[in-house]
């Protein structure tokens, strides 16, 4: 830390950081407790991890969650990129703004409302609640964020780049695959990762649109936690924490390699 801040401020910052990380490390710490509770550490044990890996039901749920996240991120990235291209083509300022407003509705809507309205939608459409309803919802709420990540990249692309490609005899397909896509790749990656984390993190929407037969991790943890504490969840959270850290590192390596990545736009 720096010398420019007073000792009091430094203590404040240290306390803030400690508080932010406390729950995470609390979970990890007790995942090694042989006592079976989140208090009174007895002995070091790896039993909960062993139990976790024997719990096929939970492992299937983890698999479901990952499959939903990857599929929804992939599909929403494709649709989002197409959407960003479409918005970019719109000339009139007003039409563009209204399209963007429509795009952003699902970003600002509270999760409960997205979940409830999708529940109505799927019920009316006669879609059975389960894998497909969850997948469709995740695709739906991830598309707008992909658009927001990709759009700045597309609009900053100089039109002369495309003209040059066409002058040199590139077909429309070649312009797309050899010029446009490589140029906007950082935006696509940022969008894909955001979609991935949105999907992995989602609880509320999934809670509404998942039927009895299908569960994702968040929903499962919720129903487990309502019943009380079980240290399998702690073991699982340690693993999730490690995976999250790996994803964060990869994400930042990718976006920082391309300097000013559009990802920070979301936070600004």
């Amino acid at each position: 830390m720096d010398k420019r801040i007073s000792p009091l401020s430094r203590i404040f910052l240290i306390v803030m950081f400690a508080l932010l990380y406390l729950p995470i490390f609390y979970l990890i710490f007790y995942s090694f407790n042989s006592g079976g509770t989140m208090y009174g550490f007895e002995n070091f044990t790896l039993d909960w991890y062993r139990e976790l890996f024997q719990n096929t039901r939970l492992l299937i749920i983890v698999l479901n969650t990952v499959v939903i996240a990857l599929l929804s991120a992939l599909i929403s990235t494709i649709i989002g990129v197409l959407g960003a291209m479409m918005i970019n083509k719109v000339r009139s300022r007003r039409a563009k703004d209204s399209l963007l407003s429509l795009n952003n509705i699902l970003i600002v809507s509270p999760d409960v409302i997205i979940g409830a309205s999708f529940l109505i939608l799927f019920t009316i459409a006669g879609l059975k609640l389960g894998f497909y309803s969850v997948l469709l919802s995740h695709i739906a709420f991830s598309i707008p964020i992909v658009v927001l990540m990709v759009l700045p990249k597309i609009s900053e692309m100089s039109p002369s780049l495309l003209d040059a490609a066409r002058d040199l005899g590139a077909s429309r397909w070649e312009v797309m695959t050899k010029v446009v896509i490589p140029y906007i790749t950082p935006g696509i990656f940022a969008g894909f990762f955001m979609a991935l984390t949105y999907s992995l993190d989602d609880f509320a929407v999934t809670f509404f649109v998942t039927g009895n037969g299908f569960t994702t991790l968040s929903v499962e943890i919720y129903s487990l936690a309502r019943r009380g504490i079980s240290l399998d969840i702690n073991a699982l959270s340690t693993i999730i924490f490690l995976i999250t850290m790996v994803i964060v590192v990869i994400y930042y390596l990718i976006t920082n390699r391309t300097k000013k990545a559009p990802d920070m736009e979301v936070f600004k």
Binding site: D2, V108, I221
Partner: protein
């Protein structure tokens, strides 16, 4: 012409998405809000909403959202301010963001342990001589956990606006004899108000609609608009009433967005 149509084919998925997953759901919620339990058109739901039970719930939901936003701001602003003074500030900022990447449910679950009867918080209270007490299922723990969840999303926009602040303004204020408090009140805060607004927006709207945290941490102590919607949809199965509350939540959302400027953001939760 033929060529132009095929050229527009790529728009189809996105347009379908807008039609079916953006516009249709809103219209459906609106439509259902005008239906009573028998599926007939009626205004009963709206009448019900203006009964004391629902008005009180709305008020308490607003009160908690306000409290959560205020406490979050009180802790986030100094943190963001101090972060901008650090040497590797972007790295520290990243460390602030990282906890927000961990699944929300796991963090809520961790607090079940920390605030539990024999948990760490009670151990701490005993150690300082206050003695252990019921922490879980109180409104204190609810506000605490909600602040914990939202604080990174509040720090980020404030940090960004503080970071953009031109330091020569501060030198000028200093040269002209302004005290540190005057500089903060008259220069720093007004110039970073956009970040504060964005942070408040990002916190207030989700805080109005929290239902998972409410259920897990506050038990039956706190009822928010979010829990009410979830209750109506998934427990009582009264979609009409649930949709009506949702309509009001959407209206409140637009009011809050309007009041805090037009920039839009999202927090998880």
């Amino acid at each position: 012409m033929e060529n132009k149509t095929t050229r527009s084919l790529y728009m189809i998925p996105y347009v379908i998405w807008i039609a079916f997953f953006v516009i249709a759901p809103i219209l459906l919620v609106l439509y259902y809000s005008f239906q009573d339990l028998n599926g007939d058109f009626s205004l009963t739901n709206y009448q019900n909403f203006f009964t004391p039970i629902y008005l009180e719930m709305t008020l308490s939901s607003f009160w908690y959202a306000f409290l959560i936003t205020l406490v979050t701001l009180l802790f986030a602003y100094p943190t963001a301010y101090l972060l901008t003074k650090l040497k590797h500030k972007q790295l520290w900022l990243l460390l602030i963001i990282v906890p927000s990447w961990i699944n929300l449910l796991l963090k809520a679950y961790a607090f079940l342990g920390i605030f539990g009867t024999y948990g760490m918080a009670n151990k701490l209270l005993e150690a300082v001589g206050i003695g252990s007490r019921q922490l879980l299922f109180t409104d204190f723990s609810f506000v605490f956990v909600a602040v914990y969840i939202f604080i990174p999303f509040m720090i980020l926009p404030i940090f960004n606006s503080l970071d953009k602040l031109n330091p020569t303004y501060l030198d000028a204020a200093n040269d002209l004899g302004a005290s540190r408090w005057t500089t903060f009140r008259r220069i720093v805060f007004p110039l970073t108000i956009d970040g504060v607004k964005a942070g408040c927006q990002i916190t207030f709207i989700p805080a109005l609609s929290l239902f998972m945290l409410t259920r897990l941490i506050a038990g039956s102590q706190v009822i928010t608009l979010g829990t009410a919607i979830e209750q109506q949809f998934l427990v009582t199965q009264d979609w009409g009433m649930g949709s009506t509350i949702a309509v009001f939540l959407i209206i409140f959302m637009f009011i809050v967005m309007f009041a805090t400027g037009t920039k839009r953001r999202r927090a998880r939760g």
